[in-house]
Symmetry: C2
Subunit: 347 residues, 2 copies
Amino acid sequence: MAANKRRGERSLVFDHPPRVISASSIVGDIEGAGPLKDAFDLVLDDDLWGQDSWEKAECRMFETVVRMTVEKAGMETGDVHCLLGGDLLNQIITANFAARQLGIPFIGLYGACSTMAESLLLGCMQIDGGYAENTVCTASSHFSTAERQYRAPLEMGNTTPPTAQRTVTGAGAVLLASGPMHNGGEKTYKNVCITGATLGKVIDLGITDSANMGAAMAPAASDTIVGHMRDTGKDITDFDAVITGDLGSFGSDMLKELCGEEGLDLTDRHLDCGNLIYAPSQDVACGGSGCGCSACVLSAHILPLIESGAWKRVLFIATGALMSPASSMQGETIPCIAHAVVLEGGI
Amino acid sequence: MAANKRRGERSLVFDHPPRVISASSIVGDIEGAGPLKDAFDLVLDDDLWGQDSWEKAECRMFETVVRMTVEKAGMETGDVHCLLGGDLLNQIITANFAARQLGIPFIGLYGACSTMAESLLLGCMQIDGGYAENTVCTASSHFSTAERQYRAPLEMGNTTPPTAQRTVTGAGAVLLASGPMHNGGEKTYKNVCITGATLGKVIDLGITDSANMGAAMAPAASDTIVGHMRDTGKDITDFDAVITGDLGSFGSDMLKELCGEEGLDLTDRHLDCGNLIYAPSQDVACGGSGCGCSACVLSAHILPLIESGAWKRVLFIATGALMSPASSMQGETIPCIAHAVVLEGGI
């Protein structure tokens, strides 16, 4: 029998906490005009980025953000033991085609906007369990590829209701390793690791409006946060911040209510990547969404704050809405999931 | 540092080999008329299975095959620590909606027809590493949902070229656990475990014809088989059978040639699930495909032969073609991947 690393119903503890070695982010021009503009590694002028389709541009973003992350650690892609990741497109073509170019052993994931936490959770099992010495966890999304796949061609100029969120054009990657990198470059982290995780369950309270995904996802986020605290015996006050992926402003309010009903007061601790990435003046309704949203904000904003010592322990919960246009057309509601990881500094 | 479980470039060894406790399969009527007809747990008369869409029928198959597998082990779904799985549909709605009904902590995967091996590989890391005591690995596909999503509405009555394969209507599930189940029912396996695995890389030799997926996938299968032998120092003769997922007859011939060029003689050892599931008289061109194909044949045919002692060691390699209709329409070739696990009896 292996040592038991399971806690409670669905949480994990990493005895050999995987270290965050490096991270990178690439975003589109609108994200690059927001409050985190100086934190991203690369801001694109143009969301086609020299390609002949938005899908190929997103693929180039995914591939490039992985290469940037690996280079920051003083490594080459051939040194990377595994690539874990996904995106929002049918058959995760962004991730699959980028993995073809990168040549790294690859595990393809689909967790909608929960992908970044899902990949970190699996990446940590790989590292902590001795199945890899290093692994790259990645997610991306693109406003223009998502709009035409999930909603309507952009050429139609549809307007969005006030509860809608804008799919972030962005890709983020995190390199995990079993210990500090001897060949680590100057841009590496020295102080951040992942000590635990909680697996999500698929939760569906019956929301059918795909322009109100924050409301659909909030119950899944609440379920995972409550599950984490129950499994580990921790409380919200044990964390400097509890950061959800992309509930946006409406979903965030709902999350606070749902957690409040379970006796967890998120008031002073909760942040949401979908709220952090855009300024209220940017006319993006309820904020950002898309799996690139939490991936970029994690890389550009959350990890540096832990590295600097400003935050000591953060619960990062990425939330995904798991419907497809086909399921919605067949009258289905929107099932959602949230996976969580515990980021810690100073260990 | 955790004990190193990595071998060579991309292979894993499981020191605490996860045991196969139970497995189940559900197939459609055409699969149920093939050579393995008596081996499946359930053969459907009708591929709508009482639902109002094929997508909902596939979802019911996925959910039911998991329930059957859990029941065989004398367990309830609430006892299961994790569900790993995926399917071929956009946003893996089959798996996501089934996971909603099952309520088991869930990791969604997209590996096209490589999904069954991908889920077993990750499930083994969970069990061997102590992150779960048991986990269910699942994959499904459905002829009618796949045809209308990937190719054309069935109502058009399109014919297929001789290199095409038929997407299997089928779902398969395998319950892994860290040791024999004390409460195991009569239908459990006592003799089968998974001792190792090899991660796939995305390989693309430039095939563009989605009616010739065997040819597209054969190089990925060959790459993983060669990688496994190189990493572990084993040879084909160390295995009683080397079984690919769904290369079909044309792709199988190509695989033998490609492996032959690397000095590996598959002649007497190779089987393919896509060839095993249909009889030549069934007019299915080059055989079966779809991630349900290898999932069902594994559950219904391969595992019983290991349990009985007929086979002692089997390399199971599920192969996936990772294109989407969008990528094909944008002129892209078909990238493919193959993941492998080592199934052993008598350990």
